[in-house]
C-alpha cells in the first residue's frame, strides 16, 4: 500500500496546493481560508483514499468480470462445445452483454411496490461493492487495512438475503415471491457454517485482519492443510452463498423462470447478474486468503498475481462442480446446511482450538 498511497498523497497534496494558490490569488478572505482548509491533512487523506478506492474498484471489477468469461469458456469445454465466440477468444462478450443490458427499457410491474422494487437491487449492489473495499489484493495494494476486516466482510456479506427477500416480494409475482423466500432460507442456512469456518481460522491465527492472517500463514503453514474439513465446508457453503448450480434454487430456471429477479429487465438485471459473479469473486478471494495463504508465494512473480491465480483456480473448482452435478431441492439444501455442514464446521472449530491449545502452531 505504501507506494500507491504515498504517490497519491503527494499528488493530492500538490493538487490542493495548486487550488489553494488559485484561491489566494483571488484575495477574498473566505476563499483563502477554504484553501488552507483544503491543504490540511484530513482532507488530503480523505481525497487520496477516495482516489485509491476508485482505482481499486475498477481493477477488481475487471478481474471479477473475467470470471464470467472463465465460466463461459470452461463450462463450454466441459460440455464439449465452444464457449463464447464474441470478439477475440470471447473476451468482448462481457461488454456486449453490458451494452445490451444498458440499452434495454426499464419496466416496473404495474402494481408492484416501486420504492422497494428499486431499492432492492441497489442495496444488493452496494453491499457487494462495500465488500470489495475490505478485501486486499496484497499487503501493499488495498483500500483500507482495518484490523477487523474479516468481521466487517462477513457482516456486510450477510446483508444480501435481505435485499433478495425485498426484491422478490416487491415484484408482485408469485414466482419471485417463492424465489425470494427460498433465497433467504438458503443463505441463512449456509451462513452459519461459513462463519464457523472463518472463526476457526481466526482462532488459529489469532488475528482478525486479512494481512495478519496471510502473514501468519507465510510463516507457519497454509491453513488448508490443518483445517482441511473447514476448507471443504467453506467451499460448499460458498457455492450455496453465491447460488450456483448444486444450490441454485432461488433462480432455478426449471421452475421459477428466473427466481427473484424475474421482473427486473434492464441495467438492474444486468447489475444483479454481475453482482452474483462479484459475490462469487469475493467468496473465492476469502477462500484463498483464509486457506490458501493469500498472496504468499515464491518471489518470481508479484504477490497480487499469486492472489489472482489462486482465486481463479478456486473459481475453476466452482465451475467444475457446476458442470458435474444436478440442482437439488430447497429442503434438501437446508437439510444439508443444518445437518451436514454445521457439524463439520464445529468439528473443524474443535480441531483449530485443539491445535491452538497444544501450541502446535
Amino acid at each position: 500500500m505504501a507506494t500507491l498511497y504515498t504517490v497519491l498523497t503527494d499528488f493530492t497534496q500538490w493538487l490542493m496546493d495548486l487550488i489553494a494558490a488559485i484561491l489566494d490569488w483571488t484575495k477574498l478572505g473566505i476563499l483563502s481560508d477554504l484553501g488552507d482548509w483544503l491543504q490540511s491533512a484530513p482532507v488530503v487523506d480523505f481525497v487520496t483514499t477516495l482516489l485509491v478506492a476508485v482505482i481499486y474498484l475498477i481493477t477488481v471489477m475487471m478481474f471479477a468480470l473475467c470470471f464470467i468469461w472463465q465460466e463461459r469458456k470452461f463450462l463450454g469445454r466441459f460440455m464439449d462445445r465452444r464457449g463464447t465466440q464474441v470478439g477475440v477468444l470471447g473476451f468482448f462478450q462481457n461488454f456486449a452483454d453490458g451494452i445490451k443490458v444498458v440499452l434495454k427499457e426499464h419496466i416496473v410491474p404495474k402494481d408492484s411496490d416501486h420504492a422497494l422494487f428499486e431499492m432492492a437491487i441497489f442495496t444488493y449492489l452496494a453491499s457487494t461493492f462495500m465488500l470489495f473495499g475490505c478485501i486486499p489484493f496484497s499487503d501493499n495494494f488495498y483500500v483500507i487495512d482495518v484490523n477487523l476486516a474479516v468481521l466487517l466482510g462477513i457482516a456486510i456479506f450477510a446483508f444480501g438475503p435481505f435485499s433478495i427477500l425485498v426484491g422478490g416480494w416487491a415484484s408482485n409475482n408469485k414466482y419471485t415471491l417463492i424465489g425470494g423466500m427460498r433465497a433467504a432460507a438458503q443463505l441463512i442456512a449456509l451462513e452459519i457454517p461459513l462463519l464457523l469456518c472463518v472463526v476457526s481460522v481466526v482462532v488459529l491465527t489469532g488475528d482478525l485482519s486479512f494481512v495478519g492472517i496471510v502473514a501468519w500463514q507465510e510463516e507457519n503453514i497454509w491453513l488448508i492443510f490443518p483445517l482441511c474439513i473447514g476448507a471443504l465446508t467453506f467451499f460448499i457453503a460458498a457455492i450455496g452463498e453465491s447460488e450456483r448450480i448444486p444450490f441454485d434454487l432461488p433462480e432455478a430456471e426449471a421452475e421459477l423462470v428466473e427466481g427473484w429477479a424475474t421482473e427486473y429487465g434492464d441495467i438492474r438485471w444486468g447489475l444483479q447478474m454481475a453482482s452474483d459473479y462479484f459475490r462469487a469473486y469475493i467468496l473465492c478471494a476469502l477462500f484463498t486468503m483464509l486457506f490458501l495463504g493469500g498472496w504468499a508465494g515464491p518471489e518470481f512473480i508479484w504477490a497480487e498475481a499469486w492472489f489472482l491465480a489462486k482465486t481463479f483456480i478456486v473459481f475453476f473448482f466452482f465451475i467444475w462442480v457446476r458442470a458435474a452435478t444436478v440442482r437439488i431441492r430447497t429442503d434438501q439444501i437446508l437439510k444439508l446446511g443444518w445437518r451436514r455442514l454445521l457439524p463439520l464446521a464445529v468439528i473443524n472449530l474443535l480441531i483449530a482450538v485443539a491445535l491452538k491449545v497444544a501450541e502446535v502452531f
Binding site: M79, A254, A324, V326, R327
Partner: protein, 361 residues
C-alpha cells in the same frame, strides 16, 4: 397457515417441453392438486388424414411425434398393410426392426436431454445430444433425413441398406456403449441426482395398470408388459432380448428402465442387421383396400401406440384413430404429483418424456 394458491406452470414455461399447461394447486411448497391442460397443439390430424390417399399419409404420420417419428411412420404402414392384406417381405421386416430400435435409442436420448435440463445439469443435456448425433447420422444415411424420416412405405421400406451399413452401425454401437457409461457416471454415480429422483413421483403397479399407463413408466412400477414380447409384430418374435423392469415405480426407476432399454435396443440392432435375409424390400400395393376395419398396436418408445383404421373401399381412409401413449400417461400424472414439492414437478414430468405432438394430434 398458507391458503392454497393455484399456479399456472403455463403453456410457455421453461420446464414443459412442448405446449401444454399444468395447473398446480400449492399449499406452501407441496402440491395438493394438479390438472394438465392440453389442446394447444391440436392440428386436427385425424380430420386432415380423411381427405388424402393412403400413400400420401405416410410422411404425415411422421409428424405425429417428432421425437420418435419412425415408430409412428412404421405403425401407420403396418396398419395399412394389414388393411390391404399385404405382407412386407422378410428383409424389410428385419430392416424395420433395426431402424425402429435405432429410433428408440434416439428418442430415449432426446428424453435424456429433457431430464438433463429439467434437473439443472446442462452437461447431461449436451452430452446426450452429442450421442444422439451418432444415430441421427446413421438414420440420415439410411433414409435421407435427420428427424422426419419418411422411411417406411406401405408394403416395405423406401430403399435397401446403403453399402457396408452394418459395419458403420456396429462401429457406432461400440462407441455408444463407452459413451453411455460416461453418461451413467454423470447420473447414477452422482448423489444429488439420486437425491432428486429417489422416491419421487411414486406409483405402484396396480394403480399404474388401472390408470392406463404403458411403456417404460409401467415397467418401472413392476409390471413386465412389453408389446414386443406380448403381441410380437414384424421380426420381433425371433429377436432374443429381455424386457427391462424395475420395482420401485419412482422417478429413478423410470430413468433406470430407459437406460437399460437402450442397451437392449443395441443388442436387437446387432441381431436384426446380422440375420436380415436377402430379397426384395418393397412390394407393390394396390390403390384401394377392401372395405373393413383393422386395429394394430406397436411398442412406441413411450408406451403402447395403437391405430384403428376404417376403409370404405375408396383410395382414402374413412376414419383413422390414433391412440398415443403420452395422451394417457399425461392423464395419469396428477396422482404422481400430489404430495410432492413444486421443485419436484420438473423431475416427475421431465422423466415422463412428454411429446405434445402425439398428445394433441
Amino acid at each position: 397457515m398458507t391458503d392454497e394458491m393455484w399456479i399456472n406452470m403455463g403453456p410457455q414455461h421453461p420446464f414443459n417441453h412442448g405446449l401444454w399447461n399444468l395447473r398446480v394447486k400449492l399449499k406452501g411448497e407441496t402440491i395438493t392438486a394438479a390438472e394438465p391442460i392440453i389442446g394447444y397443439l391440436h392440428r386436427g390430424w385425424e380430420k386432415m388424414v380423411e381427405n388424402r390417399a393412403y400413400p400420401q399419409i405416410v410422411p404425415l404420420a411422421d409428424r405425429l411425434c417428432y421425437g420418435s417419428s419412425l415408430s409412428w411412420n412404421h405403425l401407420y404402414c403396418l396398419t395399412a398393410e394389414r388393411l390391404f392384406g399385404v405382407e412386407a417381405p422378410d428383409r424389410a421386416k428385419y430392416i424395420r426392426v433395426a431402424a425402429l430400435e435405432m429410433q428408440r435409442i434416439t428418442s430415449h436420448l432426446t428424453w435424456l436431454m429433457a431430464v438433463g435440463t429439467d434437473l439443472g445439469s446442462y452437461t447431461i443435456m449436451t452430452w446426450s445430444i452429442r450421442e444422439r448425433e451418432l444415430f441421427l447420422d446413421l438414420l440420415c444415411k439410411l433414409s435421407g433425413a435427420r428427424m422426419t424420416y419418411n422411411y417406411c412405405r406401405i408394403g416395405g421400406v423406401r430403399n435397401d441398406l446403403p453399402e457396408n451399413y452394418e459395419r458403420d452401425v456396429n462401429r457406432t454401437l461400440d462407441e455408444f456403449d463407452r459413451r453411455l457409461r460416461d453418461l451413467e457416471a454423470l447420473m447414477d454415480e452422482n448423489e444429488p441426482f439420486l437425491m432428486r429422483t429417489l422416491g419421487i413421483g411414486k406409483m405402484d403397479g396396480r394403480t399404474a395398470m388401472n390408470l392406463g399407463l404403458t411403456g417404460p413408466i409401467l415397467r418401472a412400477s413392476g409390471v413386465d408388459m412389453d408389446l414386443r414380447k406380448l403381441d410380437p409384430y414384424e421380426a420381433y418374435a425371433d429377436m432374443k432380448f429381455e424386457v427391462c423392469t424395475h420395482t420401485d415405480g419412482d422417478v429413478y426407476a423410470r430413468y433406470r428402465v430407459r437406460m437399460d432399454e437402450m442397451r437392449e435396443s443395441m443388442k436387437i440392432i446387432r441381431q436384426a442387421l446380422a440375420e436380415a435375409p436377402a430379397g426384395p424390400v418393397r412390394v407393390k400395393v394396390p390403390r384401394c383396400p377392401p372395405k373393413g376395419n383393422v386395429v394394430c398396436r406397436v411398442e412406441d418408445p413411450r408406451g403402447e401406440s395403437l391405430m384403428y383404421m376404417v376403409s370404405d373401399g375408396t383410395e382414402r381412409p374413412y376414419r383413422l384413430k390414433v391412440r398415443s401413449p403420452n395422451f394417457v400417461n399425461l392423464s395419469a400424472s396428477p396422482p404422481m404429483l400430489v404430495g410432492f414439492k413444486i421443485s419436484d414437478v420438473p423431475a416427475i414430468m421431465g422423466v415422463m418424456d412428454m411429446c405434445i405432438g402425439e398428445t394433441d394430434r
